[in-house]
Symmetry: C2
Amino acid sequence: MLTEPISLPVRGDADVDLDLHFILSDIVQLSGRVTRLAHRVTQGPEGPATWRTLAVLQQSGPMRLGELAAMSQVAQPTMTKIVAGLVEREWVKRIADADDARAWQIGLSAKGILKLTEWRANLATALMPLFEDLTEDDRRTVRTAIDILRPRIDLGTTAIPVAGKD
Amino acid sequence: MLTEPISLPVRGDADVDLDLHFILSDIVQLSGRVTRLAHRVTQGPEGPATWRTLAVLQQSGPMRLGELAAMSQVAQPTMTKIVAGLVEREWVKRIADADDARAWQIGLSAKGILKLTEWRANLATALMPLFEDLTEDDRRTVRTAIDILRPRIDLGTTAIPVAGKD
DNA sequence: TGCGTATATATAGCCTGGCTATATATACTG
DNA sequence: CAGTATATATAGCCAGGCTATATATACGCA
């Protein structure tokens, strides 16, 4: 290595480490690496967008394409593309909306549920070796952190202004 | 909503929630949403790959393109593309490797450090409102979880077989 | 009723960031 | 110094982002 690692603030200090700015930066950085790793250890042409979309449908049930786009944090035309792919694979079904001929309800198919479940199982199996040695306390801490963060991220899905709009 | 949300296993039960499979699934799912949200609240044409790459360089200092690819969890040709963009923007510099004329050392430039720092600040500012009300205990829990997970994810970067190789 | 506006989705066209296969240049080894 | 190994680059494909815009339907009101 030619030079020392570059690092502006003094990390490793409890006060700094508990600063929300640093926590948020670290969460985002770690999340990026996790997402990348998850994609890499599972094969197949489906990218993160596909699984994210299916997960939303599983969590919240059938919904309109536009709602799905918002909840999946993509623009509507992007979701049109993703759904087109999912329909072709028969992992979701389009149900005509009885009240509004412009809209569809998009819902998971049995096949879609199966594929999502399979993917998650593969993922967990692949990552398991890295985490097998977590103590019960560690697992509890991680679980708690997830439960703290998740509702706030969900909020971000609807409550945060998206850059480049308005 | 036409039907009930679909959910196969019985979540909300402590035994199930502490099962490593579910923790891992939840981490990956949450990470995907965080990554997406982070990208969305920061504008500019740079995608997650760019910031991930810069972050690796900041954390570990200058290194060869191939190493950088491995640590950033992408294939070498992908990193060639990313680095080409970064060089054009002058956010990194290529330093000829004295020992090996085939290789370069890739290092952050002052401009690169600045841009990365700016991006992180923007990000933290944008996400802050969602997390301002975290208690000190919550922050401590999240910080601890990050510190538990990070080294294991780093390990995954080198120690986990990538799907589709060998 | 029918016109004008609003809204839901689709299309077009562009960009980044992934990949595999392969080329090229340099290094290493017998 | 020939032959193999290795570091990066190139080519060419695909998914998944975006904005701008088209199309079809819904809605509000004179």
